[in-house]
């Protein structure tokens, strides 16, 4: 399996607070030294709570923002192509579905024109052909002709999300980055949209990066997951392994906290105390240590690197030992 998208040592820093006289403004890393590979045709999910940097990572992978350090290669080429032409070519290959559907659509333009617009921008085909392709994709996402001349404000949230999906898919990109594509939707509508995304992926052979805070949705869609905490990846591996037996204490806390829709299994537990600290002022060492039930002195000073444990990579000083401990106890 070859990687379609490779990101290495990706960092993006922002100014924290206001500039002071004679002093540079303090900075913090919203994304801090992240390595990621996405293989052709797979779905990689990036999960984490608010402020973990997952959306910032998304814009870096898309090439919509310049990383402060590190680089992103798409099919061997820099994702932020030099010059307008290279940039535009790259836009045809990577597309995005943003979190705020309503905001990412022009409130004034009928949806038909908005879905056709990418073809206009990239000057693909003649007018008639563009219209034909637009009709086809609108049909494929389940928006009937009676809606085509409506403006976004007249559609429901689910319908707006379909418009955004159609607009991203019409260029037939190789990869789509979805940033919280269903988090604003009701359960029944969410299921419809998830099904649509899955269909598109199958039909078009899409590679997907799926950014979400909803672990149940991620479990449903992802082949692989990367769990982020305060700008860093703390655990990454196949979805099956990570969800079955999480190794990092944060992943464990996260999974344990998700309420399971089954009254026979009241398992929701609190494994992490407190709340995530501000990303502007992260704790030293392992960033999770103040909330971690397994923290040892070493966690306070030494940043753990990702290392292979139990068939996935985990950035934790104690994870392997815990695992070994459990294995030892189980063996006895």
């Amino acid at each position: 399996m070859t990687a379609l998208l490779t990101a290495s040592d990706l960092t993006r820093s922002f100014r924290a607070g206001r500039k002071r006289m004679f002093r540079p403004a303090p900075r913090f890393n919203a994304v801090d030294g992240v390595d990621i590979e996405v293989a052709r045709g797979e779905t990689l999910a990036i999960v984490g709570e608010s402020g973990c940097g997952k959306s910032t990572l998304g814009t870096l992978l898309l090439g919509l923002a310049e990383p402060s350090a590190g680089r992103v290669l798409f099919d061997g080429q820099p994702v932020r192509g030099r010059g307008g032409d290279a940039w535009r070519r790259m836009r045809r290959r990577i597309q995005v579905i943003f979190q705020d559907t309503n905001g990412s659509l022009d409130p004034r333009l009928p949806i038909f024109a908005q879905v056709r617009e990418p073809l206009d921008i990239h000057r693909i085909g003649a007018r008639a052909e563009r219209d034909a392709r637009t009709r086809a994709i609108l049909g494929a996402v389940g928006l009937g002709p009676h809606l085509w001349q409506h403006v976004p404000g007249e559609l429901s949230g689910g319908q707006q999300q379909r418009v955004v999906i159609a607009r991203a898919a019409i260029l037939e990109p190789e990869m789509i980055v979805c940033d919280e594509p269903v988090s604003a939707l009701d359960v029944s509508i969410q299921a419809q949209v998830l099904r649509l995304l899955r269909q598109l992926q199958r039909d078009m052979g899409l590679t997907m990066v799926f950014i979400s805070h909803d672990l149940a949705v991620v479990r449903h869609v992802a082949d692989r997951v990367a769990v982020m905490y305060l700008g860093r990846i703390v655990e990454t591996g196949s979805a099956e392994r990570v969800f079955q037996a999480p190794q990092h204490p944060y992943t464990q806390a996260l999974l344990a906290a998700v309420p399971v829709p089954d009254p026979a299994r009241r398992t929701a537990r609190v494994l992490a105390t407190g709340e995530p600290p501000s990303p502007m002022n992260p704790p030293p060492g392992c960033r999770f240590h103040p909330r971690c039930p397994h923290a040892v002195p070493r966690c306070r000073s030494e940043v753990p690197a990702l290392r292979p444990i139990a068939g996935r990579e985990t950035a934790c000083h104690v994870a392997g030992a815990l695992d070994a401990e459990i294995t030892r106890i189980a063996a006895e």
Binding site: S188, Q190, D214, R219, H220, V260, P261, P263, R269
Partner: protein, 324 residues
Amino acid sequence: MAPVLAAQGLSVAISTRDGRTVTPVRNISLALDAGETLAIVGESGCGKTMTCLALSGLLPRRAQVTATSLTLAGEDLATLDRRRAREVRRQRLAVVFQDATNGLNPVKSVGWQVAEAVRLRAGGSRAAASAEAQRLIGRVGLPDPARIMRAYPHQLSGGMNQRAMIALAVAGNPDVLVADEATTALDVTVQAQILTLIAELQREVGMGVVFVTHDLGIVAQIADRVAVMYAGRIVESGPVGEIFAAPRHPYTAGLIASLPRIDRRERDLSVIEGQVPPIDAMPDGCAFAPRCQRAADDCRRTSPPLARLGGVHAACLHPLREMA
């Protein structure tokens, strides 16, 4: 034992600015025992928030609330005048909303706001209220209560503000706590902490909790009984175990089946097609009929009443059979 909060035939009608009237809640009945947790679950626009505001007496005046009876701690609010009803609610019922950071007054300190709640519900001197407020702030798990007392909402995180809101709500030991999407805006690890906190306080104080949410996972984890709402009506209600194990209403069943699950991976979710009809264009008959695969002609004519079916109540002419 008489329920601590019970509503019979509760409806809410709102006249819109252009002179029409919409009814976001239509003829629903609920009962909550002391110490019990009742979850009202449904998608946006189903009327669950309206129900919660109607129970709490917080709807604006242009909304008309009607009910055959609405009893809170033994008093029928439907027969009392507005002032007296507010008095009873103030003593007996507390509310927690979704957005705690905006729900707290930005120009007053957290301690002042909790103390105000103590004084309004339980009376007493300023000093006593302040001391009680500090105790409550400590009780809901906020670190360094003396400092939090002086802090303003913008200085605290969303989770901390939600804790402060809970402190404010449980001041004076109310009989009923109404929580409207109280954890929706929070991260999942913080949500788990808040849910645990509410359960603890519920045990300590012995209050009944009405938990309004769209999240079936939370319902399964905390509720004793469930009421599922669709398009302003309760379509199914009953003990949580039976509802999840053997839903009788096709909507409930569809909702549960369309939920991605954390505990197992499903290749494909089953999907309820279509969307909720707009509130000013409700179809005749069963509101779910246009989306329902079991719908027959009679569903489009008559609106099914809530009827007893085994352990649960369901409003459906063609309910699902008991599953094994």
